[in-house]
């Protein structure tokens, strides 16, 4: 418990440091945001006016304080490209990314944990070798390349799945913003089917490295605990093998995997940057890339901060879950 409290206490300074890095990256650069905002043909007066309007003529430390104040109160500035508040854009695009990342996470756990367990139980069997080849390749593959190959095969050649996008036409009326959930709530099965078909390829692409990581950690964790004394004891006590494996062994082995899940979720958000771009998925990742292409620095910085916050929060959640799961920590 004390550990968790200490972790929570460290959050504000970490966030502050994160903002400082982001701010430094965006302000100690040769380009002049006021000039970008004013456009190429603006006069020196117009540039100066914009500089004043956005507080860019203030000393840097003061600008930084304004920036921190803005982020804390939910004001992340105006996007140079869409001319809308960045915070609004982020919130509007959040559900698309979360839906994709959550499906990928579920797929990674549902596929990764059993594969890891089976690979550990049948060590050096053909299945173990096959799983190893898949995980090694999965971790070495460029996500954007896999995405393009899947598009090529399933969408362009076989015509089974849509090439891009989240849905054809408009999505269901937003309730949660998750198209699949909304479609179920509205009883709109045609939309549900469509949303799912659009989800298949992006989810697969995003999930593959996560599956590989979970398999590796589960396998290593299982092998590690399989040789420990309590398993020997339980076997001697006559507890059925199946129960030992799927209850006690798995619980002990998953502690290592769980540490990774926090990292994995953060990586899914990061991976979304590339995957969403290829699939033209209207989420945060493609938003970040579009902002980059339009030199929209306030949007890029806001996305960086957002991803950092998600990272910090998931790691905190993992720490808490780990303490709860590991009886030795209680």
């Amino acid at each position: 418990m004390a550990l968790i409290a200490r972790r929570c206490l460290w959050m504000p300074p970490t966030l502050f440091g994160l903002l400082l890095i982001v701010f430094t990256v965006s302000h100690v650069i040769p380009s002049d945001p006021a000039r970008v905002m004013a456009g190429e043909n603006a006069s020196a007066d117009q540039v100066a006016a914009i500089r004043h309007q956005y507080g860019l003529d203030l000393p840097l430390p003061l600008q930084f304080l304004h920036y921190v104040e803005g982020v804390v109160t939910g004001d992340m500035g105006i996007s140079l490209y869409t001319q809308r508040p960045v915070a609004e854009d982020l919130v509007a695009r959040l559900p698309a990314t979360m839906e994709l990342a959550l499906y990928a996470m579920v797929l990674a756990i549902v596929a990764g944990v059993p594969l890891g367990v089976v690979a550990a139980l049948r060590r050096n069997s053909w299945l173990d070798h096959f799983v190893r080849v898949v995980t090694v390749a999965g971790l070495a593959m460029a996500a954007f390349w896999l995405a393009i190959l899947l598009q090529l095969l399933f969408s362009m050649w076989l015509g089974l799945t849509p090439v891009q996008g989240r849905i054809d036409g408009w999505g269901p009326d937003p309730i949660t913003g998750f198209f699949t959930v909304d479609a179920v709530l509205l009883g709109d099965w045609a939309t549900l089917g469509q949303a799912l078909r659009h989800l298949i390829l992006p989810t697969l692409t995003l999930a593959l490295p996560a599956v590989a990581t979970i398999v590796r950690f589960t396998r290593a964790g299982m092998i590690n605990v399989m040789s420990s004394n309590f398993v020997f004891y339980q076997t001697a006590m006559g507890i059925p093998r199946r129960r030992i494996v799927w209850k006690y062994l798995l619980r002990a082995a998953l502690i290592g995997t769980l540490t990774q899940i926090g990292l994995i979720f953060g990586n899914l958000i990061a991976g979304a940057v590339v995957v969403e771009t290829v699939f033209d998925w209207p989420g945060l990742g493609s938003f970040a890339v579009n902002s980059i292409l339009h030199s929209d620095y306030s949007a890029v910085m806001s996305f960086t901060v957002f991803a950092g916050v998600v990272f910090i929060l998931t790691n905190l959640a993992v720490d808490i879950a780990q303490t709860l799961l590991d009886p030795r920590g209680r």
């Binding site: 090529l152 362009m156 890339v289 950092g308």
Partner: protein, 279 residues
């Protein structure tokens, strides 16, 4: 070394990397069309794989195989410089923070934690975007993003050997902190740094390719692998080889580094039994 060569996957990794280095060094000799890096022949554009053009030709009519070979140079250059820079920053930070136990070492680790709080690719994109598309900016972005990994690792390892008897003995004999760190701590943690660096090289290549794919890498006509894949998208599904070949090169090279890293860990760390395959 013997143990390393006995490990099949490490051997495969070593062969792949040796092949990569040969391709990079002798690109000018090995490439069937070395001039295709920056010239174009529009009549030959988008030809499929054949005995002349092993991987077909691209939108400029350039031989993709030749461009891939020259791209290997760029890949090695970016990965080696960026990773070395990250090691050169990260290792001393981790050593100092791990050796001393005071406010300053806490601060060092907090700073690296903040860097680790942002997903690497996001931070690299943000930095590369503000600096502009160029090779040295990609390298800079990657080194800034990756040094905390080595700092964290070296910190943890230093902490674990800090109270060993041989360190205590060195201190008792009057060795200066610098001497203890460099001559006693560093050699005993070197193997994990080597393993991490090998795998890190693969990771850097992936992120560098992603930067290139997003248009943040070196500008055309540089034969950067990620950029080649981005260029190919207009010509799908017809010119599938255009997209497939560079990605295959990335896959092979990253896999080579990962396999070698895994093999090195098994060989250097006797605590881990073979086939244990700890992540």
């Amino acid at each position: 070394m013997k143990r390393l060569l006995r490990d099949r996957s490490a051997l495969i990794g070593l062969i792949i990397i040796a092949a990569l280095v040969v391709c990079a060094v002798f690109a000018g000799v090995l490439a069937p069309f070395p001039e295709d890096v920056d010239t174009y022949h529009l009549p030959r554009r988008l030809l499929g794989p054949s005995a002349v053009n092993f991987f077909g030709t691209d939108r400029m009519g350039a031989d993709i195989f030749s461009r891939l070979l020259f791209g290997a140079r760029l890949t090695i250059l970016i990965a080696v410089i960026a990773t070395s820079a990250a090691v050169v920053i990260g290792v001393p930070v981790g050593l100092v923070a791990g050796y001393y136990n005071n406010r300053f070492s806490d601060l060092l680790m907090r700073v690296s934690d903040v860097f680790l709080a942002v997903p690497q690719i996001v931070l690299a994109i943000a930095i590369a975007q503000t600096l502009g598309p160029a090779i040295h900016n990609v390298i800079l972005a990657l080194s800034i993003t990756y040094w905390p990994f080595w700092a964290r690792l070296v910190y943890a390892e230093t902490r674990s050997v800090r109270n060993e008897v041989f360190i205590e003995a060195a201190v008792a004999l009057g060795a200066s902190p610098l001497r203890v760190m460099v001559l006693h701590v560093l050699p005993s943690i070197a193997s994990s740094v080597i393993v991490r660096t090998t795998i890190g090289l693969g990771g850097t290549i992936l992120v560098a390719a992603a930067l290139g794919f997003l248009g943040l890498g070196p500008p055309p006509p540089t034969p950067e692998w990620g950029r080649m894949i981005a260029e190919s998208r207009e010509f799908l599904p017809t010119a599938w080889w255009y997209a497939a070949a560079p990605g295959l090169a990335i896959l092979l090279v990253v896999m080579g580094f990962n396999l070698l890293g895994d093999g090195l860990r098994d060989a250097l760390d006797p605590r881990l039994s073979r086939g244990g395959d700890a992540p």
